[in-house]
Symmetry: C2
């Protein structure tokens, strides 16, 4: 807003000098809005027939009606905003809860993967040992000696 | 809103009969608001010194100022609401994405747990087989025969 300035506005065909801290642009917009109301009303016979005092009060009532309607819209919008904020709060809460679950599950998954890797290594090791064990059984020097000795024994008889 | 009714309101000490589809309660609230402005303004010397026409225009300007200020608030609130809706949309989107990730991770975790169970069973089975294998090795009839036969052989010499 600009500082205190004098602004001349034309309302209902008369010039008024307004002093205040509102910008000239803002005051001209208000003047233009009031002139719109005046020209709208003066088209109506029943309005034109009224005295200046009554015309002024009817205009005031009409402008105040616009104000009250805007305030009603404002209240409705504030309610809507409150609902949205509540919804936003709830959804954010859900998001955080879900993110915490996800983080915890990632940790569990990592542990399980490590455990699984260890188990798989263990399986390979066990299978290797068993494979070696079977080869040992099949080719054990004891068995070969046993057979050869048995043979020699038999040949010696 | 009530149907078309006549409502008498007192504004600036004069009675006006208003016809319209607004409720009497609403029109009385507007009348009361305008009377508040009038009594506020008539306390100010510079206002009292003005002619009736100028006083009326000043009142119109002041009420219109309230209306414009309410409209500014309305616009600001609409902007805030839009931002909240955008934020809500984004957070909902994040929530859905996180929920999908969580679901997928739950599936992976379940598979991994099953795989892990299978691996653990396999380890137990392999270890049991190996244990049995070692017992077989330790008590194999071949070995006993080998030793006993070797013993006999030595004794025979």
């Amino acid at each position: 807003m600009a500082g205190n300035t004098d602004t001349e506005v034309l309302i209902g065909g008369k010039v008024y000098t307004l002093t205040g801290n509102e910008s000239e642009e803002y005051l001209q917009r208000i003047a233009s809005y009031i002139n719109g109301k005046i020209s709208e009303y003066t088209k109506v016979d029943s309005f034109r027939r009224q005295g200046a005092d009554t015309q002024a009060v009817l205009l005031e009532l009409n402008i105040a009606d616009d104000y009250f309607k805007a305030r009603q819209q404002l209240e409705a919008l504030q309610d809507t905003l409150e609902q949205k904020e509540k919804e936003l709060y709830d959804v954010k809460h859900d998001l955080v809860t879900t993110q915490i679950k996800l983080k915890s599950m990632e940790d569990t998954l990592k542990e399980l993967q490590e455990e699984n890797n260890e188990n798989q290594k263990k399986i390979v090791r066990l299978e290797t040992e068993m494979g070696a064990g079977r080869r040992d059984e099949g080719n054990s020097p004891g068995n070969i000696q046993d057979i050869s000795r048995g043979g020699h024994n038999r040949r010696r008889k």
